[in-house]
């Protein structure tokens, strides 16, 4: 008997396809992210999202975030499930955008006022400044923050107004080992904030991302019976990895285990093949 169970859906993708000027970029993507419940624990989950550069990861992220309507299919979020709208899903883009004309505190406040009354929004913004260790920088403008501070601020801003779901695009890119540890800590803290919090990490850093994840998606072209690539990338059932079922989730020091190393090799092969 596994020490976890799946409950209500958090994110659902049904038959998502995307074409630009007749060119099929994404095809027939159906995914389910369910609330995973572990007895005696209140924690969200992490989804690792891989694929070769230029395969359509960013397009899928923008579709999931409600920023780009797909050519066909639907994205459902929240409980009860409803079609996604921009603002439902937090999306921290690669360069951690913030409003450069607002101070750090103002950046958080403008996000918090979306869901809260002014006084409460102020308190929430203050709370997040403290939680993300940014309180001493509250009056600084984004251009005065370091890369790590910017990233924390961007995540905090998105969390203040999104509905439990947050996409991080390349959160480990260009960071030193100490900063990677810092970002990993932030991601785990985000998932610990709420049972329903779900972080989707788009990354090329397989080892770091897989070690944090409960589920993996691998976006790539599917091959037909003759071995030819079908036009448009997709995430087949074979490329949806439930790490909990595989016994590779929620274990400290997982990266040293042979099964984990084997999985990484398998993922690398699959990515190369695509």
């Amino acid at each position: 008997m596994p020490d976890y169970s799946y409950q209500e859906p958090v994110l659902t993708l049904r038959n998502i396809s995307m074409q630009f000027g007749g060119e099929v970029v994404l095809r027939d993507i159906s995914l389910d992210v369910l609330n995973v419940v572990r007895p005696g624990m209140s924690q969200g989950q992490v989804v690792g999202f891989y694929g070769r550069s230029g395969i359509g990861k960013s397009v899928l992220c923008r579709i999931i975030a409600g920023l780009l309507p797909p050519s066909t299919g639907t994205v459902l979020v929240a409980n009860p499930q409803r079609p996604v709208e921009a603002g439902d899903v937090g999306f921290v883009q690669q360069r951690y955008p913030l409003f450069n004309h607002r101070t750090l505190f103002d950046n958080l406040l403008v996000a918090a006022t979306r869901k809260h009354a002014p006084a409460e929004a102020k308190a929430k913004a203050e709370d997040f400044l403290n939680r993300f260790d940014l309180a001493q920088h509250r009056r600084k403008y984004p251009a005065q923050l370091s890369g790590g501070q910017r990233q924390r601020a961007a995540i905090a801003q998105q969390l203040l107004c999104s509905e439990h779901l947050i996409i991080l695009d390349e959160p480990f890119s260009g960071l030193d080992i100490a900063m990677i540890d810092e970002v990993k800590k932030i991601i785990l803290e985000v998932t610990a904030l709420d049972e329903l919090n779900t972080v989707v990490i788009v990354s090329h850093d397989l080892a770091t991302t897989t070690a944090l994840s409960d589920t993996l998606w691998l976006l790539g072209p599917e091959r037909d019976a003759a071995g030819q690539c079908i036009v448009g990338a997709t995430i087949t059932k074979n490329h949806q990895y439930n790490l909990a079922e595989m016994g590779l989730a929620w274990q400290p020091g997982i990266q040293a285990k042979p099964e984990f190393v084997q999985l990484l090799e398998h993922l690398k092969d699959e990515i190369r093949k695509s």
């Binding site: 004309h101 251009a143 107004c161």
Partner: protein, 258 residues
């Protein structure tokens, strides 16, 4: 000293100011001791300046031109901002495009039409300046707006801002500092035009008319003195605009390479 000739070097402000002072001094000394035959000497220009100030009301004329230029700039800025911001709506995009292309219209044809449409010389002067400044400002402002990236707009949308709110936050508020810079850069066009327009409509005087008179009687020393006054006024304006930018938009300079 060596760093003054090194690419991308950052000399200390004291060193840099000393260098600028030395360059200006050298220029003045050259002018003082090696005058060109056609070019008036420094002494003649200073004497002409004194004469212009004491007997020909240079300061009053400068003030008249300056207030007219500032009025025209204020009106043109409002018009250009309106035209530029309206490009958010596809319906108005051709209007801004057409306004931008009107930079190529000539002043002569323009003043003729303005004179037919308007009753007083002042109105024609103001209308020509507003028109000319607006078409240049619209070009610069729409260019600033077009520099808005998908990432910036997506960022606002992911925070649940609607399309108008995203536009207000990213394009209007986020680009105000750049808009002020466009206004600063294009203010010079008004000074170029005002001297021309004041010679066409002489009833209100102005520094352009004064310059025209000096030119007409071949008072090159007076011409140069007035040009230097206009140059100094322009430099002061530039400084004031930069100061305003630093005071109201302190974030604007933070990411600039120093």
């Amino acid at each position: 000293m060596k760093e003054l000739f090194a690419p991308n070097a950052k000399p200390q402000p004291k060193v840099f100011l000393t260098m600028v002072g030395a360059q200006v001094l050298l220029l003045l000394l050259l002018w003082l001791f090696y005058p060109l035959q056609l070019f008036p000497s420094l002494g003649e220009v200073l004497a002409a300046l004194q004469d212009l100030l004491t007997t020909q009301g240079l300061l009053q004329e400068l003030w008249a031109s300056l207030t007219c230029a500032l009025g025209a700039l204020a009106l043109a800025t409002l018009l250009a901002l309106l035209l530029a911001y309206l490009t958010a709506l596809p319906f108005f995009r051709p209007l801004a495009y057409a306004a931008s292309k009107m930079r190529y219209l000539t002043l002569t044809g323009l003043t003729f039409f303005m004179a037919l449409l308007l009753s007083s010389g002042h109105q024609v002067k103001l209308a020509v300046l507003v028109f000319a400044a607006t078409v240049y400002l619209v070009t610069g402002m729409t260019s600033v707006m077009l520099s808005t990236s998908q990432e910036e707009m997506d960022h606002a949308r992911t925070l649940g801002m609607g399309e108008w709110r995203s536009f207000l936050e990213v394009v209007v508020r986020g680009k105000l500092a750049d808009m002020l810079e466009v206004v600063r850069q294009n203010f010079a066009i008004i000074w170029t035009l005002i001297t021309l327009v004041e010679t066409l409509y002489q009833s209100e005087g102005g520094i352009g008319l004064l310059l025209y008179k000096q030119n007409r009687y071949l008072h090159l020393d007076g011409v140069l003195a007035i040009q230097l006054v206009i140059l100094a006024t322009g430099a002061t304006q530039d400084y004031v605009f930069s100061l305003l930018r630093r005071v109201f938009f302190p974030y604007a300079q933070l990411s600039v390479a120093k």
